[in-house]
Amino acid sequence: MSEATVLGGQEVVGVGRIEGPIMVVEGASNVSYDEVVEIQDVRGDTRRGRVLEVGEGFAVVQVFAGSTGLSIDGTRVRFLGNTLHMPVAEEMLGRIFDGLGTPIDGGPEPLTDVYRDVNGQPINPTARIYPRDYIQTGISTIDGVNTLLRGQKLPLFSGAGMPHDQLAAQIVRQATLGRVAGAPQTEGEEFAIVFAAMGVKNDVADYFRKSFTESGALTRVAMFLNLADDPPVERIVTPRAALTLAEYLAYDLGKHVLVVLTDMTNYGEALRQISNVRGEVPSRKGYPGYLYSDLASLYERTGRIRTSEGSITQIPILTMPNDDMTHPMPDLTGYITEGQIVLGRELYYAGVYPPVTVLPSLSRLMKDGIGKGRTRDDHPRWGAQLYAGYAKTQDIRALASVIGEEELSEVDQKYLKFGRAFEREFVNQAFTENRTIERTLEIGWKLLSMLPKGELTRVTLDEIKQYYKGDDATS
């Protein structure tokens, strides 16, 4: 063991039991719950872990790198006397770290004496500022009908093989502080980006790195990488390390931070694995009963606080096993986040990019960031109308598949046309297309104008007068 890693603390030689990533250490006293340990194998290599449970003379330790190569006899365990802390510094932007926050880009350790507990602490609800400022992502299905605000947590629910990475990269590339429709574009301060990969393949990480490089964002990005072939248990720490840096950047330095976490499903896997090894009583699908609280301890590290100018906006990415939204990972995520953007196979196969299925998508904070003085007065009702129209289209499609399109009433046929145009012109846009809020609203009105006025009960009569462009002659 090198001198540098000996941080003091008591050392125990020998381990009682090893099972998967869990190790029971006997004969230790004065061990604290959640304390960090350093484990040295017979060859002298070290790895880290933390205490999950502690009793008199024993401690249950979770080994981040897994227990491969550890033996009952030769293993030395050193209890380091504190919970897991990491250094944080502004200069970590532009750098790449492993899943535990150690640099892997060949550069030096961040030079700082600010160390933070990776678990963070809950934000006091009285200290929060309710999010109000929208982020223009240039994507109609987000800005128009699922608006993202600074300080919001809005996950992408996707499935294997769908372009969630592209969408996330496009959001990161195009995100600017929103402005009122018609107001001149101002040069806003750019987002700092904290990117955490959990169990994704190397090419996914590469894709993001390339995308950040191309858009010139790389110097504003800190990447925390736990890839598919990295130890799964480390994944439990990766998002926490990323969020610890994000909190420092946002709340200490006043930056606006965009956090991308991918793939939360792999994170859940790791949690489930540890829970199973420990023989805990599972709730659904083998996931531990505390999955909700655990996820909340990540997702709730989002928002704005009164003592800082900065903000943390989270975009977690989740591939739904079997595209099943009731699976515990998307389900419990949806119960914590402030909405979700759902990608769908059907649109994806139809060649629509981004394949955002708008009906199950939702931004709960949207209502507070749009409308008069924020985007445009008609925006909320316009959005509700588009939704209602598209929802009705779905019913009519079902009917058409039974009785045939020709048998539909004239109005219903208009809905079908509206629905197709909605998918092709509103949802669909190029990976490089950055739409202004005006443009998004304009496309929406153009589509609504395909329907008879009498159908538009969600918008006001004045708005119809001002924006409706159809040739419907009725009242």
Partner: protein, 588 residues
């Protein structure tokens, strides 16, 4: 004060085991470790005790001491509760912020109720009066208009030997003295009550006055009575929180207790920032002046989440005892149940369904049983109504928390994912929901509005279930195959759905509908139906009715006609008369 009663032997998350004195009581409040974190004894076996800790236990070690207090987990009750925001064990969050900054640190100790603040107090009892638990000794002005009725502690009684004169007092000042036997006891405005023990009352009364929420689908279709209990289950994003916020804003209760139990921080912030600026339509005062908030968000310690429900209901009962009508919202009871499960799991108790402990049903029953419309000890009447949100995994109502909750509530507001996706809000499914209070509150409606609400509601529900049946046919063969009379049912049902059931919580006019507006809208739609039915039965094509301009007017009335100008609805009735009259003439 607290003396050492044990030594920690084991720690796992919020659960700690210790060895020590046999004199510690079950459910006793203890202080754990050097930092003296708050905990509660939840298991005893010989000299072993199990403690759930209300704060983060990271850094704690076996061998550390546990201190007993001899008291059960209790809340402080007195003036100053209203407008407060507490965590699950009644720690005032604003003071925690002042002392610790934006993040909640452990080891915070603050009085739940300010000891310095002075309240304008007027005595209402006289020396020589025989008093008992609940007797009102005087009133303190808790806000400019809210009377906090200072009561004798439920466990005390005796003769008043001294009363303070009108003046300004803190909760530590003596405001009366009671002689019990030979002893004299000083009484202040502050009392403590163990949260897990319901506060006593004389008897329950029938629940036959509706809690008016201003939400049409609730008041008109699935009313909950004052003193009743309602459950609102739904998948994520279906509208539990928005509905509960709406009820907290507009319900005709005098006190609101809102418990954010394991939910989002931003949602509590929203209430904190919004309520002071919203005006109670009845009192004309800011809504915050009748609200107590308990916020134990999802990332705050899980054991305190378990306690938050009890903290909230005890505060609600306290105001009920003064003779007030209190409405309590718990968002979400599922997170509370999960807290039970988490602690139970760490205790390695035998799990029942889905890992929940076998006592889940019992705990739910105890909670909902604390709702009620009662005769208080002091002769007044008050009520606690409970609205509990339920968050079933995957939106599946067959899971244990939803199923058990159903046994203890009488009003079920079933949220529906597909309605929410179609942006039909509130996404309460009118076919899956029910209220067992309908018959009970019928009289109230008749007296209040002079109209036969029950008959109208029944008619509307018939139309909606007929619509559901017909839609099945339409799905198979299209609407054209239906006779006009049946299509008239579809037309009217659409008016009921879009013009009455749908209610936009973010629209200033639509957010709250007075009882008068609700019944008048319903009347209007049914009148439209009756006239239309007569005409189509004589052979008029349905599309003539569908295309009448008044249809659009009726659908928009909810947000275009304010509660103050409901006579404008009479004008809409005239439009119906006029437009239907023309058709009527053509098809005579």
């Amino acid at each position: 004060m607290a003396n050492e009663v044990g030594t920690i032997t084991w720690i796992s998350g919020p659960v700690v085991r210790a060895r020590g004195s046999r004199h510690v009581g079950m459910l006793e409040l203890v202080e754990v470790g050097q930092d003296r974190l708050v905990g509660e004894v939840i298991g005893l076996k010989g000299d072993q005790m199990t403690v759930q800790v209300y704060e983060e236990t990271a850094g704690m070690q076996p061998g550390a001491p546990i201190y007993g207090t001899g008291l059960p987990l209790s809340v402080e009750l007195g003036p100053g509760l209203i407008q407060s925001i507490y965590d699950g064990v009644q720690r005032p969050l604003p003071l925690i912020e002042q002392a610790m900054g934006s993040f909640i640190n452990r080891g915070a100790r603050f009085d739940s109720i300010s000891r310095e603040k002075k309240w304008k107090y007027t005595p209402k009892a006289n020396v020589g009066d025989e008093v008992k638990g609940g007797t009102i000794l005087g009133v303190a002005m808790e806000t400019d208009t809210f009377e906090h009725r200072v009561m004798v502690h439920p466990d005390d009684k005796g003769t008043l030997t001294w009363v303070a004169s009108a003046g300004e007092y803190t909760v530590n000042d003596t405001i009366a003295k009671i002689k019990v036997g030979k002893e004299e006891k000083s009484v202040t405005m502050l009392q403590r009550w163990p949260v897990r023990r319901p506060r006593p009352f004389v008897q329950r009364r029938g629940a036959n006055i509706p809690l008016i929420t201003g939400q049409r689908i609730l008041d008109t279709f699935f009313p909950v009575a004052k003193g009743g209990a309602a459950g609102i289950p739904g998948p994520f994003g279906s509208g539990k929180t928005v509905t509960q916020h709406s009820i907290a804003k507009w319900a005709d209760a005098e006190v609101i207790v809102y418990i954010g139990c394991g939910e989002r921080g931003n949602e509590m912030t929203e209430v904190l920032q919004e309520f002071p600026h919203l005006v109670d339509p009845r009192s004309g005062r800011p809504l915050m002046e009748r609200t107590v908030l308990i916020a134990n968000t999802s990332n705050m310690p899980v054991a305190a989440r378990e306690a938050s429900i009890y903290t909230g209901i005890t505060i609600a009962e306290y105001y009920r005892d003064m003779g007030y009508h209190v409405a309590l919202m718990a968002d979400s009871t599922s997170r509370w149940a999960e807290a039970l499960r988490e602690v139970s799991g760490r205790l390695e108790e035998m799990p029942a369904e889905e890992g929940y402990p076998a006592y889940l049903a019992g705990r739910l029953a105890e909670f909902y049983e604390r709702a009620g419309y009662v005769d208080n000890l002091n002769g007044s009447q008050g009520s606690v109504s409970i609205v509990g949100a339920v968050s079933p995994p995957g939106g599946d109502f067959s899971e244990p928390v939803t199923q058990h909750t159903k046994r203890f509530i009488r009003c079920f507001w079933a949220l529906d994912k597909s309605l929410a996706s179609a942006r039909h809000f509130p996404a309460i499914n009118w076919l899956d929901s029910y209220s067992e209070y309908i018959e009970d509150v019928g009289n109230w409606w008749r007296e209040k509005t002079g109209k036969d609400w029950l008959a109208m509601r029944t008619k509307a529900m018939e139309l909606l279930s007929e619509e559901a049946r017909l839609s099945q046919i339409v799905k198979l063969v299209g609407p054209d195959a239906l006779p006009y009379a049946e299509r008239m049912v579809l037309e009217t049902s659409r008016l009921i759905r879009e013009g009455i059931l749908q209610q936009n919580a973010t629209d200033t006019v639509d957010a709250y509908s007075s009882v008068e507006k609700q019944i008048r809208l319903l009347e209007l739609v049914l009148y439209f139906h009756e006239r239309g039915m007569a005409i189509v039965k004589r052979g008029a094509p349905i599309n003539l009715i569908h295309d009448l301009p008044v249809v659009d007017t009726i659908i928009r009335a909810k947000s275009s006609v304010t509660n103050e100008e409901i006579n404008k609805l009479d004008d809409i009735q005239k439009m119906i008369d006029q437009q239907m009259g023309q058709l009527d003439a053509e098809y005579r």
